[in-house]
């Protein structure tokens, strides 16, 4: 059996980058504070010392420019890992993601691939307010040509990031500031998890919670609450949103016939909207109740602690949604 160690999500990401940088000189890491400062969230700790400043590079605060530079380097065959300090700031760089990276292979008829990884935390941490708390998945899945992985656990972080680095297409890897300290067992050895394969993080027969990223943990907590009421929830972690493991979604729908879609971001044109669209299109008759979605409140993230709490999708909301699709009455509020 493979050796495993309990490490943090942060360390797992670091391990994935080192694993890939060890085997392939064309991989390098570039972003704000990634080198001398060891990363704003210390994800790249020790990498400057290990790989030198040719391969671990501090960039100026020029998101559009350094993302574009990395795309250009990828066009020439390198494999940049472009770190956004958070994906909030990557909105400045979205043109290079959508118009250059995503469309390049197609408009060059397959000549120019862009094997780049965009990575960093997405979504809310704690009280960072409107401009620093946005979940950015929608901007990255909408355009065909980009892939998107959203690891929830340390093992997935290592395996999916490694896969993303090896992938010949642009892949965004969205992490979570609140995940970096999560601990879990991770194989020591070379470890790669293929994109496009969802993972049942908890099995259950009564209701399916389809989710990804940070929200997997909220779903698991909700499942534990529900278990006390003898409701067994299945938690399906999509792990990657493009490619999307549609079969796994359809399987869990066929199994439980009741679905709650949970995501960190806003509802309008969110990831959950697409999942609902997929399910109603391909498993309409399997549903015993309409799919319910749990999302961030449709408001910019407020700073005040209580409002932020209210705005975020939480365990209580997921539990209630699960009861609702099961037609189990919720206590009056």
């Amino acid at each position: 059996m493979a050796d495993v160690a309990e490490i943090t999500y942060r360390e797992a990401l670091n391990a994935a980058m080192c694993q890939e940088m060890d085997r392939d000189d064309s991989v390098f890491l570039l972003g704000e504070e990634v080198a001398e400062y060891d990363g704003a969230y210390k994800v790249s700790r020790g990498m400057l010392a290990r790989y030198g400043d040719r391969r671990v590079v501090d960039s100026p605060i020029s998101e559009l420019g350094f993302a574009g530079l990395c795309v250009g380097a990828a066009m020439a065959g390198l494999r940049p890992i472009c770190e956004f300090m958070t994906f909030n700031f990557s909105i400045l760089a979205l043109d290079q993601v959508v118009n250059s990276a995503a469309k390049m292979l197609y408009m060059t008829n397959g000549q120019v691939s862009v094997p780049i990884v965009f990575r960093g935390p997405t979504g809310a941490a704690l009280q960072l307010s409107a401009q620093h708390s946005q979940a950015c998945e929608t901007y990255y899945v909408h355009a065909p040509g980009v892939k998107l992985a959203t690891p929830a656990t340390p093992a997935d972080a290592k395996g999916l990031l490694a896969a993303a680095i090896r992938d010949d297409d642009p892949v965004a890897v969205m992490e979570g500031e609140l995940l970096y300290n999560v601990r879990g067992e991770v194989p020591d050895e070379e470890y790669v998890i293929p994109l496009g394969v969802a993972d049942v993080k908890r099995t259950g027969d009564d209701v399916s919670i389809v989710t990804h990223g940070k929200m997997v943990h909220v779903a698991l907590q909700a499942a534990r609450v529900l278990a006390r009421e003898e409701i067994e929830a299945e938690v399906l972690d999509l792990r990657s949103l493009r490619p999307l493991d549609a079969d796994a979604i359809l399987e869990t729908v066929a199994k439980t016939n009741r679905v709650v879609c949970l995501e960190e971001g806003w509802p309008f044109a969110g990831v959950g909207a697409q999942i609902v669209s997929l399910i109603q299109d391909e498993a309409f008759d399997d549903l015993d109740a309409p799919v319910l979605r749990v999302t961030q409140a449709d408001v910019p993230m407020p700073y005040a602690k209580n409002l932020e709490q209210l705005a975020k999708p939480g365990v209580k909301a997921v539990v209630e949604a699960c009861r609702k699709v099961l037609y189990v009455p919720n206590a009056a509020t």
Partner: protein, 381 residues
Amino acid sequence: MANGDGPAGDGGEPGAATRLHGFSRDELHGLLADMLLYRRFEEKAEEAYAIGKIGGFCHLHIGQEGLAAGAIKPLRADDLVVTAYREHTQAIAKGIDPRAVMAELYGRTGGCSGGRGGSMHLFDTAVGFYGGHGIVGAQIPLGAGLAWAIRYRGGDQICVCFMGDAAVNQGAFLESLNMSAVWKLPVVYVVENNGYGMGTAFSRVSATDVEARSGAYGIPAHTVDGQDALETYRFFERLAERVRRGAGPQFVNAVTYRFRGHSMSDPVSGTYRSKEEVESHVRGRDPIALLRDRLMEAALLTRKELEGIDADARAACDDAAAFADASPLPAPSTLYDHVYAEINPNGRLFLDGREGAPAGGRAGGGGRTPAGGGAKGGRRG
């Protein structure tokens, strides 16, 4: 020293010996009092952060107060200021009550942004303070736009747009400076050049010095010692008048230093700057100590007066913290307020379908029951 005081030195005091740089004794005491207030405010915020009263990011201005006082106090009350996220003291300098600033850091309704903005998003349009922006460089075009509005209406105000040194590497800088120059906007761009963007020394990621950047758009560059509050004040006083009279956009490289870490989680010194470097600035380049010493040397300030001023500053900050602590949290029912100007128009504005979300005019209803963390509302029928 209140906003809009205009140039100092018209007070009719006895003789030259009682003045410094043309400032009267009262004015000098006022300026020192302002800066001590900023310092004590930040220290109070630091304390409050440590005990969890303040959350999120909190970027202190300690060490850079000479700029808050020197660049903002000479402005008129109706001049506009816009800046980045390290803006507590700038907000106070422009006239926001320290209570309202502290309450904002606490996330309370008494805050100048109602507790919704937090440390990085302080606003008070009544005093011309337009934030508090968290995306590095985003305030630069906003500042150009505020200046645009002034010019459009034929006003004689000016807009002062602050940014950190690291922000000059954002593309928005080029675009804004170029447009400002083309349209001769009444805007002063001020770089608070503390030498670092987080843990990155400016010179490591920048090909040239800060002051080299505005020439590409024909905008005059000035360098000022931001630790010298008196010089800085006089400099901005003159510059503001010139811009007011139509001199067009200006660019100021204000040299300063940050005495604390980038934000609360960042150590004061570390891999990116040595303890010695920080200490030498704290010892020799503290804008408040520099002013204090100068006043004392010129016999314009007694130790007793200083203690009195400092005691007032501390009291004001204690008061601000007490106010903040007593100020209520925003009501849960306000969660959906101010996303849009009108909250129940035709159609649905909000697509989460929570029971608490306003439902839109034609849908009728949409009570304001708190969302309670939000599952989608039930189905019809």
